[in-house]
Symmetry: C3
Subunit: 353 residues, 3 copies
Amino acid sequence: MSTPALPAVPRVLRGWYVLCTSDELGRGDKPIQRSLYGAPIVLWRGADGRPAALVDRCPHRDVPLSYGCVKGDHVQCAYHGWEFDHRGHVQRLPALVGEADKPARRAQAYTLREQQGFVWAWGDPDSQAQGEPFTFPFADKPGYLVVRQVMRARASLHAVAENALDVPHTAFLHGGLFRNDSATRNRITCKVERTPQRVQAEFIGEPRPTGLVARILSPSGGVVTHFDRFHMPCVVEVEYALGEENHIVNSAALTPADDYETVLYAVVSVRTRLPAALVRPVVQPLALKIFNQDAELLALQTRAIGQFGSARYVSTEVDLLGPHILKLLTWASKGTELDEARQVYRAEVQMEV
Amino acid sequence: MSTPALPAVPRVLRGWYVLCTSDELGRGDKPIQRSLYGAPIVLWRGADGRPAALVDRCPHRDVPLSYGCVKGDHVQCAYHGWEFDHRGHVQRLPALVGEADKPARRAQAYTLREQQGFVWAWGDPDSQAQGEPFTFPFADKPGYLVVRQVMRARASLHAVAENALDVPHTAFLHGGLFRNDSATRNRITCKVERTPQRVQAEFIGEPRPTGLVARILSPSGGVVTHFDRFHMPCVVEVEYALGEENHIVNSAALTPADDYETVLYAVVSVRTRLPAALVRPVVQPLALKIFNQDAELLALQTRAIGQFGSARYVSTEVDLLGPHILKLLTWASKGTELDEARQVYRAEVQMEV
Amino acid sequence: MSTPALPAVPRVLRGWYVLCTSDELGRGDKPIQRSLYGAPIVLWRGADGRPAALVDRCPHRDVPLSYGCVKGDHVQCAYHGWEFDHRGHVQRLPALVGEADKPARRAQAYTLREQQGFVWAWGDPDSQAQGEPFTFPFADKPGYLVVRQVMRARASLHAVAENALDVPHTAFLHGGLFRNDSATRNRITCKVERTPQRVQAEFIGEPRPTGLVARILSPSGGVVTHFDRFHMPCVVEVEYALGEENHIVNSAALTPADDYETVLYAVVSVRTRLPAALVRPVVQPLALKIFNQDAELLALQTRAIGQFGSARYVSTEVDLLGPHILKLLTWASKGTELDEARQVYRAEVQMEV
């Protein structure tokens, strides 16, 4: 246990991930660096306004292209001035007499989409993208207060996703803020449904949580409609309706900067009878406090997994989504079409909340 | 040599080790974390006053239980509120409908003993302890000044034990404090005796050391009785009688927090004609200075072993105990009953001091 | 890519390397530590003024001898006072009754030469040195301003050597200081010649560079004579003659402290019509600025090679010397006498500068 190592995680490269926000990718002459599962990526916005992304290594001498600068639509290496276009082709090779571009000299390129203020990349460079990135359903909807926030957690995508969608821990780690650990608990029914692209839990009969956030939003109690969803390979979504007036959708695109380093691009959409000017200053600090509690715990979890060299992970029935998320990621990372992976799974579970 | 790694050490898990002092394990609601050969251990004191220790990893999601809190006699995980008793059994599993405890959900438990102000653990969790921990013979004896001190060294248990019991280095590393490197040395006889549980050196004919400590204790010189002992798997003991009146027993239980990180729980017992109020303020700072010289050197030794990837360790006859300690630890770590390991070994060596 | 590792480099141990300057190895009683390909080396100057160097590990207990002190012509270990001479033989072993020196107790010794203010070592300890160290031809020559400088770069010897002798990058990384990236470039001819001991490029038809350094030295332009040379296993040499009056030889002995940590012992010799009092305060800061730009880039290159786990290195015709240097180092590190390695290679390449 002296030289601990974190075990490998399932890496799904064939999928869409957020690399940065549109704001982070300005129009300056300096490219930016991001990473996906440890692979450094250089991003820049060409003179034509289009974002571009390459593997962040000049094929010539391994220097990060992000150390260079933007020249028109190209990125230029700082070392010998090689210039690459958005496809990774060499458009200029100073000093050389002859053709600049040759296949061996090209940098690998990522397919990008820019939408809803995010720059998404197909995770596998130089390959054919499939489908389109996730659209946040309430990110642009009139009548909703929308708050965006970029956060980081020192944990795997899977651990962050499970944590974001897990109900039982809220009464302990966030005791008093959202739910409470009370002697008298209510038994509710949870319907779980898993398809190859998504796993969802629906909570039936859940009373309004007793913590501070819920009491602010719905002082009179009321019936709760509650869904937790994971969309492959990286989106978590918690949807709450409290009474008639309150609708909260807490989503985030999770980007595995590395196996155990996850960036959360969160989009919180709230519709409530309270004015936005009242909701935002109360809800945002509470949400950040809750996230910081999760992030601190997840970092300790990662550290322990490293110390022991593996994850133990003994699950029970009330770990509703985590084990399914791990299955979906594992199957997809193997790239094979397993029979079990194609089937729709449904179950009902009792839980005391 | 670019990516150096420290070589493995013999790990004797089947033995008693000090994990903390009784004082360090208070009655608060926060557990503490210690480690043994790199394995994190959570310790707490239940409402009944009894100490308890488990492997510091919640079986559910790998979160350190030491990040949680004490609930009555149990420790509670901070993540989902699982509660464990001193055997590692699950006493509460919130949200789950059904039985909390199942063998797969249990944490591994350490057998403990609390005596003489120390909490000892059998190093192998969930296994049958054998025998009892070492008793410091002069820790509670009337007429003795007893000083306790917890220290750390960045070196293996074996290197720390050899260093603590080694005579020749004192004239160099601690020159002037204890012994001196003089041109005129005295030839003395050393009797070495090794049994499976202990190795001891007796020094015959040793004059009173010429350094500062010895001159304070025995200004008139006198005959020296001197034993150095290692008790398996972790106790070092240096016993000195100087003349009629002075008796010093310098012992320490060594705890391998990791392969190359050793905690020393030292117990120094002194009987002398000088009053304790005089001895303590002189001897304690000198002892700490000597220890700090050893600790700095041992850290450099460890660093060099890492750089070279292995220990060279060319021993001579006057390395009286170190090679025997390594044999005892190596044999015990293999868990087999070798013929050689069962035999009693005796030798006489000449040494110039 | 989560636990990146730098790939191995060709290590030529059978060759002469600078370990320190004569000034760094004073006459005090403290030895100094240097390293070669990660192997720590202790150096000291005996009472007789002669430098000595051993593998920096006491054979007894692995303690660095550089933590000890100089005793007459010997180095003494801080732990048990063992004393070693310049051959690594044990000259004193305190406490032991009997002979101090035995082959198993000896430290490995380096063959040294001290010349031109540098202490050179044959890189393979306890082996027969061949030939003599490199002599800097203009380090002591009358009429030359000579500036010496010790610098460090976080990159392999090969990467540092290629960088030091590479022409095309100067227009970009050092744009404006030495060369410029201009739309109108001149096509020149480069003659490359490689023998087993050396590779050299001669540049024919090169106009005076347009950057600041060249304009100071030769305001009227003039014809340029320019050679870049690599002498096995570690010397780079850039020789410029600008017009009749200016002669600049920029040399450095490169010492691989580790695979990716190179120390440069630079010797710059300048003969110009300008007085030294004018040249030094202008040229030295510019040279250091250029070196710092190279060092920052080389560190990023090394980091990227570690992140990707290997170097990609797609070379073109105008990478005149780097690929040949790598061949010479690789062949020599294998220690075999390949046919290809023995042949003289000559080529002519066109380059736009």
